[in-house]
C-alpha cells in the first residue's frame, strides 16, 4: 500500500476482511468518506479550490490532492470532492460560505457510492477484464481519474499509484462490481 497517493483520504476499511488477497492482486473495501459533487462556472473555480483546501483540476481527467482533500475532475464544469467522513459538515459549509452569490451546485453524495482499492501488479489486468480503457502508464498515468463502464455498471476509476486503483461504484451496483472482480481474479489463482 506504500504507493497509495491519497492515503489520508482513501483508506482501507479496518473492519472489513479483504475481498480478495492473492499474491498479484488484492481488493479491499475503502472506509466511508465524504463525497461532494460540485458544479460551477469557470469564474468560481479558484474560490472553490481555496475554500475546499485543494485546487480544482482543470486538465481533463486530472486530480489534485492535498492533506486530507482530493478534488477529482469529472467534466469541464463538474468535480467530485473527497474528504474524511467526519469533516462533511465543515467542508460543505466552508464551500457554501465562500461561493455565496455565485451560481453553483454543491451536493452531498457520500452515500451514493462505495469504493474498492484494487492493488497489485495484476490490478490493471483485472480491471481490463471489464473495462475497455488502456491502463498503460503512458496513456493512464498515476493521478488520472475517469468515469467509465465496468461490464454493465458505471464506475469511477482513479489511479492513485502505479499498481493501485480506486474503483468507485454506486452502492446498489457494488455487489455486482466486486463480485465480478473477485470471480475474474480466480483465473489468476488458477494459473
Amino acid at each position: 500500500m506504500s504507493d497509495l497517493l491519497a492515503n489520508d483520504v482513501i483508506t482501507p476499511d479496518a473492519g472489513e476482511t479483504p475481498l480478495l488477497s492473492l499474491p498479484d492482486v488484492s481488493i479491499l473495501k475503502a472506509a466511508p468518506m465524504t463525497r461532494l459533487s460540485l458544479r460551477l462556472r469557470k469564474a468560481a473555480i479558484p474560490a472553490a479550490g481555496e475554500a475546499f483546501g485543494a485546487n480544482l483540476p482543470v486538465t481533463p481527467l486530472g486530480a489534485e490532492i492535498s492533506a486530507k482533500r482530493a478534488a477529482l475532475w469529472m467534466g469541464p464544469d463538474e468535480w467530485t470532492l473527497l474528504a474524511p467522513e467526519d469533516e462533511l459538515q465543515a467542508v460543505f459549509d466552508g464551500i457554501e460560505a465562500k461561493l455565496d452569490g455565485q451560481p453553483h451546485s454543491l451536493t452531498d453524495i457520500s452515500h451514493r457510492s462505495e469504493a474498492l482499492i484494487v492493488s497489485g501488479p495484476k490490478a490493471s489486468w483485472l480491471l481490463n477484464t471489464g473495462i475497455f480503457v488502456d491502463f498503460s502508464l503512458e496513456k493512464f498515468p498515476v493521478g488520472t481519474v475517469t468515469r467509465t463502464i465496468f461490464h454493465k455498471s458505471p464506475v469511477m476509476i482513479w489511479r492513485t499509484g502505479e499498481d493501485t486503483f480506486v474503483v468507485e461504484a454506486w452502492v446498489s451496483f457494488m455487489d455486482y462490481v466486486a463480485g465480478i472482480l473477485v470471480e475474474s481474479a480466480q483465473e489468476l489463482a488458477a494459473a
Partner: protein, 101 residues
C-alpha cells in the same frame, strides 16, 4: 466497436461509454407561439437520414456527461471529425473529399 474521441475528456473511448443523440444542428423554433403545426412537425420528426456524411450529436454519458458533435460516414462508419457543441459546423464537402468520397 467504434472508438470515439471525446473533445472534453480529450481521450478516445469505446462506443459503450457514449450515447447517440440524433442529428446535430437542429435549431428549436425561435418563437414557439407563432410556429405552425407543420413547422413543429418538421422540427420534431423530420430528419435528413443521409447515406454518407452525417452530422450527429453524441453524449459521453459514462464519462464527462457532455454532448458534442461528430461527423460520421454512415456507409463506412468512419468518424471524420469531432467538435464541441458550440463550434460551427465544419465544411462537410471538404471532409468528404478528404475521406475520398
Amino acid at each position: 466497436m467504434l472508438l470515439i474521441y471525446c473533445p472534453y475528456c480529450e481521450v478516445e473511448r469505446p462506443e459503450t461509454e457514449f450515447h447517440n443523440g440524433g442529428e446535430a444542428h437542429i435549431a428549436r423554433p425561435a418563437d414557439p407561439s407563432k410556429t405552425s403545426d407543420e413547422e413543429w412537425a418538421e422540427f420534431l420528426y423530420m430528419r435528413s437520414n443521409v447515406k454518407g456524411i452525417a452530422v450527429e450529436r453524441w453524449r459521453h454519458i459514462h464519462g464527462c456527461g457532455r454532448f458534442f458533435n461528430v461527423v460520421r460516414d454512415t456507409v463506412s462508419d468512419k468518424i471524420l471529425k469531432v467538435y464541441k457543441v458550440d463550434d460551427p459546423m465544419p465544411d462537410l464537402e471538404a471532409l468528404a473529399k478528404e475521406a475520398g468520397r
